[in-house]
Amino acid sequence: MSARQLLAAEGGNEFQAPGTEIFEWGPLWHGAPSWLTKPTLIVALSVIIVCGFFWAAFSKPKLVPRGVQNVGEVGYLFVRDQLARPLIGKDGDKWMPFLMSTFFFILVMNLMGVVPVMQLPAPSHIAFAIVPAAVVYVLMIFLSIKEQGLVGYFRNMMFPPGLPAWLYVILSPIELLSNIILRPFTHAVRLFANMFAGHLIIAFFATVAYWFLFEKLTPLGASLGLLGFVMTIIMTAFEIFVQALQAFIFTLLAASYIGGALHPDH
């Protein structure tokens, strides 16, 4: 819903702050299949953009890179040296395809929140945060059991060495809940909540600016509208930062979970 539609729908003379209805999207056009909504379109576009970008960058690699290959290599080195090697270790390079796809897919999905016309970060719908988090979760459990064995996995997780035996009875439930249930939960919610709140904040300031500068222009309200306009720009810049940061943190946690599964000593 655009700001104009939103205000027209309210119809009142009072300013109405945008609520959760700005996250509700029907089919793209009348008669479109019910799954074809703006968020799914954004996800599909993100996949195409990421694939297209890396195809352009690496399909014909030159020894001396130039243009888009340069950008692709900087991105690759960033993920490898900041995430894969520090968090997984020597065998981190093996996980680069996964981490690279995760990072750039989520980065592009998030950045769609500030791209004109799109203006919706796909993970502001929790489903688009849950699915990548669930993939990482299944991968983490699979790798842990493969590397440590089923018994070894639960022993390493629930019984950290060096505690008196009676304390295990008290502390093991905390470990179990934390590792098995809360980890994937916080992993998904962290991404979702940041995108949700960011989108709501931008929508709020944009609505303030639109309402007080165009819809109901009064001498007193104009300054408020101007403030909303300036804040929209500031918060958009801030959101670009948050979107990049959350994509980084999501991938960092994925790498950390994979590293923890492969090297259970910590």
């Binding site: 020597k90 470990e175 809940l177 934390s178 809360l182 590293g259 923890g260 910590h266």
Partner: protein, 80 residues
Amino acid sequence: MVRPAMSKEGQRPDPESDADHRAFANAAWSIPSYLLSGMAVYGGLGWLLDRWLGTSALLPIGVVVGLALALYLVYHRYGR
């Protein structure tokens, strides 16, 4: 695909600092879920006991005790 000169620059030869780095990142990111988990387990236990015994003080006590236990666990795992 990656220039040879670049791969050399990005190497971390020291496995010791590697492990430290991992431990630090793991600690920083698992503390919130430990704290939540401690509060949930013992707060939940307190809530169940409250329902069973008809009291109302055990839920807050459980939350605080769970938080303390979770902090101890974090300290034991990462703090030393």
